[in-house]
């Protein structure tokens, strides 16, 4: 326990707010970062926020070589909806998501960052590789696939007779690996319990409706911009078969199936995740640093 005589026990993560126009709207976006070196921009899952990457930002093996940056998408975490948008139904689209990521890279003046996204963030990484690969040093998709079969009706996520936070957390609880430590499972689910009404559902509009990328990922150049896809074996939403099928259509894409990990590798089992992600970051640093 710290006392008045000891130094504060700070973590290396620093949080700030950034004013950035996105899609013609004024947004105030919350950003956390740690480390120095190659910019590594991290994209959280649907209905969650940048806290999912807190362990990565406290890992000196990563932050000694990478400037790890994570932001809360507008509507998520500590980023409010865009100014004046509170009454609007939130729906994430492919075009809007790409525009948001590119706006953040521009506003932060990131020089060919590595982008690593999970779930919806993994799906959009595929679109970035397809349409904007030259802007990135490398791309990492966690729990990423061009399409997945739906497994529930998203109408349950936002209706007055079912508690939104409770049902969102209960649904995704099955996507975590049983082996993941309880503390990290609880933290991962807590974000779903805290998410704004309809936000998770709005993200899934992108996932379920707007971003079926099957057959539309041609022309990805993995020599210019390497593409790594890592999926947990306990993820039945984006199952390893979904990622393997996707990778089979992208020459040069590198796939890893992570054992005893589910849909939230970086937050549900950070110790296990680093065993898989450190070699990927090593390779990127070695070949594209």
């Amino acid at each position: 326990m710290s006392t008045r005589d000891s130094e504060p026990d700070w973590e290396p993560i620093v949080g700030r707010y950034l004013r950035v126009p996105i899609g013609g709207e004024s947004c105030r976006v919350y950003i956390e970062e740690a480390g120095n070196g190659i910019p590594l921009l991290c994209l959280h899952t649907a209905g969650a926020d940048s806290r999912q990457f807190r362990h990565l930002m406290c890992d000196e093996s990563v932050t000694a070589r990478f400037r790890v940056i994570a932001f809360d998408l507008p509507w998520h975490g500590k980023s409010y909806p865009p100014d004046g948008a509170f009454e609007r139904e939130y729906r994430l689209t492919t075009a809007g998501y790409v525009e948001t990521i590119r706006a953040m890279c521009g506003a932060l003046r990131l020089d060919r960052p590595v982008v690593m996204g999970c779930s919806i963030g993994g799906r959009i990484v595929l679109q970035l590789a397809h349409a904007h690969g030259g802007e990135f040093r490398a791309l990492i998709g966690l729990e990423a696939a061009d399409h997945q079969q739906p497994w529930y009706d998203t109408a349950w996520l936002h209706r007055p007779d079912v508690h939104g936070g409770e049902v969102c957390a209960a649904l995704v609880s099955g996507l975590l690996a049983p082996q993941s430590p309880k503390l990290h499972r609880d933290e991962t689910l807590w974000q779903y319990k805290q998410s704004g009404p309809g936000v998770f559902r709005g993200d899934l509009y992108f996932y379920r409706v707007d971003a079926d990328l099957r057959g539309s990922l041609g022309g990805i150049d993995t020599v210019r911009c390497p593409l790594y896809l890592l999926t947990g074996e306990y993820d039945f939403s984006c199952a390893p078969e979904d990622t393997l099928r996707t990778a089979a259509s992208i020459p040069g894409a590198k796939v890893t199936v992570m054992r005893e990990v589910g849909h939230f590798p970086m937050s549900e089992n950070p110790a296990r995740f680093r065993e898989y992600i450190l070699p990927v970051l090593d390779e990127i640093g070695r070949t594209h640093g």
């Binding site: 079969q149 497994w151 529930y152 349950w156 007779d161 079912v162 508690h163 409770e166 049902v167 957390a169 209960a170 649904l171 609880s173 099955g174 996507l175 690996a177 049983p178 082996q179 074996e233 306990y234 039945f236 199952a239």
Partner: protein, 138 residues
């Protein structure tokens, strides 16, 4: 396996016995039932060919045979014996570790009036996964 199969319990019966014992332990655990304290209702559980009724009163479940015709229930969760047994393994195999994972692979059906199921989803999932932890605690 015994050659006198007629004298041994069927896989269905063994699975039901395991569920029954786990729910008795679950019902006596205040921490386990607390999450369901706002719900009273009836859930039909199918285990292979067996049909059972889980009646929940303020979070405390009681398991019985669904013997009478036209018995009513709010929602039903029906799975193969191998689905339930896989769900109850510790740890369960990937893709067999959650009610929705099993439904997605066609090993389980979730039917009926689903509002109470979704409104109390974590409670129902915990209750029906209770046999996974029964052997470890005993």
């Amino acid at each position: 396996m015994s050659e006198s199969w007629q004298e041994s319990a069927s896989p269905d019966d063994e699975a039901v016995s395991r569920l029954r014992a786990a729910l008795e332990t679950f019902a006596a655990n205040d921490a386990a039932t607390a999450r369901g304290r706002w719900w009273s209702g009836r859930c039909m559980v199918g285990v292979g060919n067996r049909r059972l009724l889980v009646e929940v009163v303020r979070g405390v479940p009681t398991l019985s045979e669904l013997a009478a015709p036209l018995s009513s229930w709010d929602f039903a969760i029906v799975g193969s014996v191998r689905a339930w047994n896989a769900l109850w393994q510790d740890p369960p195999p990937p893709g067999w570790h959650d009610l929705f994972a099993l439904a997605k692979r066609g090993e389980m059906r979730i039917e009926g009036a689903l509002q109470p199921f979704m409104a109390h989803l974590q409670y129902v999932k915990d209750m029906l996964s209770a046999p996974r932890h029964g052997r470890r605690r005993s």
